[in-house]
């Protein structure tokens, strides 16, 4: 008799799950975007697009159901923690280190491909007559490799890539990785692949010294923190029980700032764009995120202050605020969105310095750098 009760319960529970999930799927509101995963969810597949000879409707329905499964966020997170705690994080895109930093898995870099990009950069140096300085941000996993299991740490080849950049002709590497590795500060966010204000400030100091300027002290900036930041590695990892953290911001004191964008109307007097704090991705708080060309003017700079042309990925957006007090104009170019001549820009603005600010991943893999002119 007792056995029957538990068997009955087993059947009832199984039936409940089988019925409740499709019911919830039908009743819950339809979502098109997942903020937690930062991506658009699959759209309902159309039967009319299908050919009987090349039938893949069932796959598309499966993807659609997986994306819109009730409780998807919780389920995806359960699976991510299961992968982490059974030791299989090598198969994930994001590793969790011993202190809970969510770091990107290493990119497979190809020396030949890297050199194609470095050659292009050296050429731009020749055309503009400016010496290209490369500020390359090593990956979090490489800098914090002592916090990762040895087998995972061994997969990061940043050292090799940085050496190749240092040895390449026509470009000069700004020394940064050594300091990041030797001083154990929070150079990076726990939940994002970007550097923190500390990391960006250290990079600023390194660049200024390399360019022959005296960097300003920390007192020239006011530090603030905005709580609740959840970056890209947290959303990609699905380890959503990991805590959020403050977004750290340094604002230069006493600058007359004007910011213009090549693809956005208006002139702005601040380097920071608070409207993005209402969105799922906060990083565009810095200089409104990525634009083809961003021009920052400082009316309080000396008339003979230098003009900087910065070719960059998103790391440049958090570096720029430190550079503002020392430059008359900073022209930021993102070749992923700007396909025209960069050397023409250098001439137009009378640039006196040329900086490339890139993460090691982008310098090794970004296709747009191969088309640089």
């Amino acid at each position: 008799m007792k056995r029957n009760v538990w068997n009955l319960l087993t059947v009832v529970l199984f039936a409940l799950v089988l019925l409740a999930v499709p019911l919830a799927f039908l009743l819950l509101p339809y979502r098109t975007f997942s903020e937690a995963e930062r991506r658009y969810l699959a759209e309902p597949p159309k039967l009319s697009d299908e050919k009987l000879s090349d039938w893949s409707y069932d796959d598309k329905v499966e993807t659609f159901l997986a994306d819109h499964l009730p409780g998807r966020n919780a389920l995806v997170s359960v699976n991510a923690y299961l992968t982490l705690y059974t030791g299989r994080q090598v198969s994930a895109d994001v590793f969790c280190d011993a202190e809970g930093y969510l770091v990107e898995a290493p990119v497979d870099f190809d020396a030949k491909e890297l050199h194609k990009r470095l050659d292009r950069i050296a050429k731009l140096g020749e055309t503009t007559g400016l010496a290209p300085r490369l500020l390359i941000v090593p990956s979090t996993g490489y800098v914090r490799s002592d916090k990762l299991p040895k087998t995972l740490a061994a997969l990061y080849r940043d050292g090799e890539a940085l050496q190749q950049i240092a040895d390449a002709p026509g470009v000069s590497l700004v020394p940064l990785a050594e300091r990041f590795q030797s001083e154990g500060q929070s150079w990076y966010y726990r939940t994002d692949h970007h550097w923190t204000a500390d990391g960006a400030f250290a990079a600023y100091e390194a660049y200024m010294r390399a360019a022959g300027h005296e960097p300003l002290s920390r007192d020239a900036f006011t530090r603030s923190g905005i709580d609740g930041y959840s970056g890209s590695t947290r959303s990609r990892s699905a380890l959503w029980l990991h805590p959020t953290e403050p977004l750290t911001v340094d604002e230069p004191i006493g600058c007359g700032i004007s910011v213009t964008f090549s693809d956005r109307e208006g002139t702005y007097e601040s380097l920071f764009f608070a409207e993005h704090l209402d969105e799922y991705d906060w990083y565009p708080y810095f200089l409104d995120g990525n634009h083809p060309v961003t021009v920052i003017g400082n009316t309080n700079a000396a008339a003979d202050a230098p003009v900087l042309l910065m070719v960059k990925d998103s790391f440049g957006n958090t570096l720029a605020p430190y550079l503002v007090p020392s430059y008359r104009t900073i022209v930021m170019v993102d070749p992923r969105y700007y396909k025209k001549s960069v050397s023409a820009l250098a001439e137009q603005y009378g640039a006196t310095e040329l900086l490339f600010c890139y993460s090691i991943e982008r310098i090794a893999t970004d296709e747009s750098l191969k088309l640089l002119k």
Partner: protein, 464 residues
């Protein structure tokens, strides 16, 4: 549609089970046939017509055999030829054409043949043949009802990847499915265990194998072996998981299928391995090929020949590629040698050694089974003995192997009867029942979580 999919779990299964349980007894089988056709058509909207044609033809032939004793043999031959022709046309034409083309390249090289394999054709063709042959032998009665015959062939739990259910085994159940709560609950548990084997173990091992098989030169010798073992576990949990789900679903619908796997990786000889692996296929070949050929009744040379024929066919059944024939022959030769010489030597070894040796033989077999391209097979087997790869472990392969070590250990334990043994012991205690229920819930939740997250989910045995 595969069982380990959200479409199956949360669309097909709820509708099918609800309808099946609510309908009156007389309508159940017809509904099961209808839903099984939907199940097949979901993945094969064109070939479902081929399957229906084959069912109708063989059902008709069965009626004819029953009516006319004089034409019985002719009808049997017609049916066998028809079924094998269908299988050959859709499964082996490409292989045949490419092989002929390889031998006579000049006049033929321009043309290529590509026919998409209808899912499960090898399984349902063998099921149909079991009915016709048994009918001829007088082992079973004719099935006059086309709906019941159709339901037997298409029954969705075993339609596309087995087990190969012989008609004689379910004949009586077609009229009287057992729908008691205890039986359904057993079915639910068996289904969840199968789902867990597939989703949590096979797919995970598949991820490791995909990584290690991609660039064998970077693995190192140990990495290459771990890769091969990962595939060995993947294919077992994939296929036996599917069989468990099939048997579990069968139980939920009131049918009992014979078990298809019996812990093959604890086998202590190759003969023993094949008594435990894909039992329904070995039974089929023994019943319908080996014994009709004379089995072991016509002297040793004939027996050896029979063995080799059966194993070449078994290999070929697994796929239209020569590596499957090599794989089949590998077992044919090993089984023959074991019968003639090694069997006696093996018996003198300790059991643990025998089991490990058999596991190693099976793993190497799976290597042959996996690589349809002989040069890739050569490269991988080279890397197992240190040819063409670097050292014991590559940097990436050591990270992968160590990371997956806990799952590998779990897989190794799950491949033994230890879990079943403990569950049986504990079943005596009252407190175990709620624990068992909780375990089922957790297992189901983890499986759904994994399905919601991953796109990597193909069943290996769908190629056949």
């Amino acid at each position: 549609m595969v069982f380990s999919s959200l479409t199956f779990l949360f669309a097909f299964l709820p509708v099918t089970l609800t309808g099946y349980y609510l309908l009156p007894k007389k309508a159940k089988i017809g509904f099961l046939l209808l839903m099984s056709l939907v199940f097949y058509a979901w993945g094969e909207p064109l070939y479902v017509l081929l399957m229906i044609g084959s069912i109708v033809a063989n059902w008709g032939i069965g009626l004819g055999m029953d009516k006319s004793a004089r034409h019985k043999k002719a009808l049997l031959i017609l049916s066998v030829v028809l079924n094998l022709a269908l299988l050959f046309a859709f499964k082996y034409t490409g292989l045949f054409w490419n092989t002929v083309k390889g031998l006579f390249p000049a006049p033929l090289s321009e043309r290529t043949v590509s026919i998409r394999l209808p899912i499960g054709i090898s399984f349902f063709t063998f099921q149909i043949m079991s009915y016709v042959i048994d009918l001829y032998r007088g082992k079973t009665k004719v099935q006059k009802n086309p709906i019941k015959f159709g339901a037997y062939v298409t029954m969705f739990p075993q339609l596309i990847a087995g087990p190969i259910v012989r008609y004689v085994d379910v004949e009586a159940q077609l009229d009287n499915p057992d729908l008691s709560i205890d039986s359904i609950a057993d079915g639910v548990r068996q289904f969840l265990v199968g789902l867990g084997k597939k989703v949590l173990l096979a797919n995970t091992m598949g991820v490791l194998w995909a990584q290690l098989s991609a660039a064998p030169a970077d693995n190192g010798v140990l990495g290459a072996w771990v890769g091969l073992f990962a595939y060995t576990f993947q294919i077992y949990f994939d296929f036996s998981g599917y069989s468990d789900m099939a048997c579990g679903l069968g139980r939920m619908l009131g049918f009992r299928f014979e078990k298809n796997f019996d812990y093959p990786y604890i086998a202590d000889s190759v003969t023993d391995f094949w008594r435990r692996w894909h039992i329904s296929l070995s039974t089929w070949f023994r019943e319908y090929v080996y014994i009709p050929l004379g089995g072991n009744r016509k002297g040793l040379p004939r027996q050896i020949l029979n063995l080799l024929i059966v194993w070449a066919l078994t290999g070929l059944w697994h796929g239209a590629s020569w590596n499957f024939v090599v794989w089949g022959m590998y077992y044919g030769v090993l089984l023959t040698l074991e019968k003639l010489f090694f069997g006696r030597v093996l018996k003198k070894l300790p059991k643990v050694v025998r089991c490990l040796l058999t596991f190693l033989i099976a793993s190497i077999g799976w290597g042959i089974f996996y690589f349809t391209d002989f040069s890739a097979l050569g490269v991988y087997f080279g890397s197992l003995v240190g040819i063409g790869n670097r050292g014991l472990f590559g940097a990436a392969s050591s990270a992968w192997c160590l990371g997956f070590l806990p799952t590998l250990v779990l897989a190794a334990v799950a491949a033994t009867p230890l879990g079943t043994f403990i569950a049986k012991k504990l079943a005596r205690y009252r407190w175990f029942r709620p624990v068992q229920l909780v375990l089922c819930v957790v297992l189901f939740a983890l499986c759904i979580a994994s399905l919601a997250s991953q796109s990597y989910n193909p069943f290996i045995y769908f190629r056949f």
